[in-house]
């Protein structure tokens, strides 16, 4: 089984794991959307950075380091979303740095938790934070993208809702591996 097949199997298991969890299981995590895409040299590759699995939780601030394989990709632009407020109306402050092979992006909403709840309630538990555009330096795929350790997302009452303590690849891969025992084990994990 080559690396890509392994990735796809893990992704499938991850998705099965998601399906197995109760939909109310508010365990937010970071994702790239799409989770995996292939590219050829010279292509423009666009990736959304999002938090999903929010349930009733909100995203109030975040500080993320997105690492990539700079032999394959070169980050060329970053655009923030407006799901934490409209920057033109001074509802949110955004900050970024790009130093290959890492894109550092951070945002803190100036809105109250209640206003954020209202703003994000229609997003179905997934809040897109930003969009990163890369130039493809060679043929490959986006499996090298990962959230570096220390990346963090804050929710209501400024509580940490996502904290990356180990580098977090496209989340399906990680959860695919992590959820294998759950898939074959007791359902307790789904409730607990």
């Amino acid at each position: 089984m080559n690396r890509k097949q392994l990735y796809l199997w893990s992704l499938l298991l991850g998705l099965l794991g998601f399906a197995y969890l109760p939909s109310a299981q508010a365990v937010p995590f970071l994702v790239f959307q799409p989770t995996l895409q292939s590219f050829n040299q010279g292509d423009t590759v666009t990736v959304d950075v999002a938090v999903t699995g929010l349930g009733s939780e909100i995203v109030a601030a975040y500080d993320l380091d997105v690492a990539y394989d700079n032999s394959l990709l070169n980050a060329v632009s970053l655009s923030f979303g407006t799901n934490l407020g409209d920057p033109l109306s001074f509802e949110t402050l955004q900050s970024s740095n790009s130093l290959s092979p890492v894109v550092d992006l951070a945002e803190v909403s100036l809105l109250s938790d209640a206003d954020l709840q209202a703003l994000q309630s229609s997003l179905g538990g997934t809040v897109v934070l930003a969009q990163i555009q890369f130039n493809a330096l060679d043929a490959g795929d986006t499996s090298s993208l990962q959230f570096a350790s220390g990346s963090e997302v804050k929710g209501a009452n400024n509580q940490v809702i996502v904290n990356v303590s180990v580098p977090e690849p496209a989340t399906g891969l990680l959860l695919g591996a992590g959820l294998i025992p759950l898939v074959v084990g007791r359902k307790k994990a789904a409730v607990r």
Binding site: L21, P22, S23, A24, A26, G55, S56, A60, A61, Y62, D63, G85, F90, E91, L93, S95, D104, A106, E107, V108, S109, L110, L111, S112, D113, D115, E152, K154, N157, N158, V160, R186, K187, K188, A190, V191, R192
Partner: protein, 548 residues
């Protein structure tokens, strides 16, 4: 004369009959001995609970994970995720002598057969029977048990019925197996009505067994239905089952009587409660639903308003007592009391009581229990709460720290406890622990010195008042930032207000450590300047949206 004599004799016999049965009724009628109170799992009690409820005691001892309590003869029994079976004196909350006893890790509820002096725990691969003093009576290997979230053995006429090892099994109080019949669905326990035992096999079928022999019955059974591990409710010749829809079946021939949507589709469902011809279920959408048990018609006043965030672990089964319905409202961690169908306040929230748990899953599948004027509520990680519905008005209170200051540089603060001008308030207790561990009731005083716990950060203080009648207030709280430097906290540019300029200044320092960066940016004192510092200050902004 002769007729009068006979009438007198009849009256005396009637009185004698009442005299014989009254003590028995007093002792047993208001017990709640199994997870949904009775063999049919109706989740209802005939008694009336007077409001307001007042919290009388709370035990964090049981490590709750879906577990439920049962009550018999003044003792509340509870299994726990720590592998123990607990027993508490209902009046005091103290452990009963001989308890807790060790069993296995469980998410279930025990069951009590008071008449035969046994308490049962279905854990691991064993059905344990203990005597009421906690000594072991017998234990039987029954095969693998399932999750049994909040569910437990069912007691009927001195026998205990369980599902484990892919079999429905019946034991007498001495531990002798009466029969065992193969059936699936180890995560659920059976329901009993009349001469039959009903079992949800969790594979989309409801089976019917002869209670005496264990022989499976045909004649419309098994019923094809939804696949779900909620328990069945069997009462009034009907079976009620929530699996996507709420279904009502004829228990004689298995025919579908009606079905109704009741709050949307979820992974788990609560079990219906049935009382006074009405079926109650708590919807995934956070609303309480009530239907006429015969027709499926929605009762006036229902569904209720949303009791908890929709789609957020709204899995608790309601419990009904007379004119009130009790619901553990999902992650809100609030026990809600609503008017029952047919009452003037049908579907309206009459009271709510906030409980505490560091486990954000709240009530999950934990369901309230009612017995002899007491209402018990348990929630994940939050232990067992005992409320008494003895009537009277509990005191109300409010707490401020340093006259409402938001920040202090000293750990020594002054608390002001407002007793709402209630002269009957004579005691208070104060803690930084929501469970008041180690806190003692002390004479009430309007102000009280308090030393904050070590370490800078936001501190929450919890307080409670008690009056001369023993009525206890709800827990009330106040918060204050304990900071090394209040004056500089968040007001980075020292212009006496916190606004977006301050937040921008913090964001500009993002990623730096302290030192060399100035500690005034590090509002949480963790040595790093992060979005946490920025967002913490946003929440302290002087104006909305941190406007200047």
């Amino acid at each position: 004369m002769k007729a009068a004599t006979l009438k007198q004799i009849a009256s005396k016999l009637l009185l004698l009959t009442f005299s014989i049965f009254l003590p028995l009724t007093t002792v047993l009628a208001a017990d709640w001995p199994s997870f949904r109170n009775d063999g049919g799992n109706t989740g209802s009690s005939a008694e009336t609970i007077n409001l307001p409820l007042t919290e009388q005691w709370h035990s964090t001892a049981p490590l709750v994970e879906e577990n439920g309590a049962v009550v018999a003869n003044g003792v509340a029994y509870m299994l726990s995720n720590d592998g123990k079976l607990y027993a508490f004196n209902v009046q005091t909350g103290f452990n009963m002598p001989g308890f807790p006893v060790n069993v296995q890790v469980s998410y279930s509820s025990p069951a009590v057969d008071q008449a035969n002096g046994k308490v049962y725990a279905l854990t691991g691969t064993t059905l344990h029977a203990f005597n009421l003093n906690g000594t072991p009576a017998w234990a039987k290997a029954v095969g693998g048990t399932g999750d049994n979230y909040n569910q437990g053995p069912v007691i009927d006429e001195g026998f205990v019925y369980i599902k484990a090892g892919d079999h429905l099994q019946k034991f007498n109080a001495a531990g002798t197996l009466q029969w065992a019949t193969a059936t699936g669905g180890n995560d659920t326990q059976p329901a009993i009505m009349g001469g039959y035992v009903y079992s949800n096999d969790q594979a989309g079928r409801i089976h019917k067994f002869d209670k005496l022999t264990g022989v499976e019955q045909a004649g419309g059974f098994p019923i094809a239905t939804g696949s779900q591990q909620a328990s069945l409710t069997a009462v009034d010749g009907k079976l009620f089952f929530k699996a996507g829809l709420l279904y009502a079946y004829n228990a004689t021939n298995g025919a579908l009587l009606w079905s109704q949507p009741a709050g949307g589709n979820s992974t788990y469902y609560d079990s219906p409660a049935v009382s006074g011809g009405v079926v109650y279920v708590y919807g995934w959408d956070g609303k309480l639903y009530a239907f006429n048990e015969n027709t499926g018609a929605t009762m006036a006043g229902f569904p209720s308003a949303i009791l908890n965030t929709p789609n957020d672990r709204n899995w608790s089964s309601p419990a009904v007592a007379g004119d009130k319905v009790f619901v553990g409202a999902g992650t809100s961690q609030k026990l809600k009391v609503l008017g029952a169908a047919g009452t003037a306040q049908a579907g309206q929230v009459l009271e709510e009581h906030l409980t505490f748990s560091t486990d954000t899953q709240g009530f999950d599948l934990c369901s309230p229990v009612i017995s002899n004027g007491w209402v018990f509520a348990m929630l994940d990680g939050g232990g067992l709460y005992a409320f008494f519905g003895g009537g009277g008005t509990p005191p109300k209170g409010a707490l401020t720290i340093n006259n409402g200051a938001t920040c202090t540089e000293s750990p020594d603060v002054t608390l002001t406890l407002d007793n709402n001008n209630n002269p009957d308030v004579d005691q208070m207790r104060i803690s930084e622990d929501p469970f008041f561990s180690g806190a003692q009731w002390q004479p009430y005083a309007t102000t009280s010195p308090w030393t904050l716990s070590a370490g800078f950060g936001k501190k929450t203080i919890y307080a409670q008042l008690k009056d001369k009648n023993g009525l206890v207030s709800n827990v009330f709280t106040a918060q204050i930032d304990y900071s090394e430097s209040c004056a500089k906290s968040c007001d980075i540019n020292q212009d006496s207000k916190i606004d977006r300029t301050d937040i921008s200044l913090i964001m500009a320092q993002r990623g730096k450590t302290v030192p060399p960066a100035s500690p005034i940016y590090d509002t949480d004192g963790d040595g790093k300047i992060t979005v946490n510092d920025a967002r913490a200050c946003v929440l302290k902004c002087t104006n909305a949206n941190c406007a200047p």
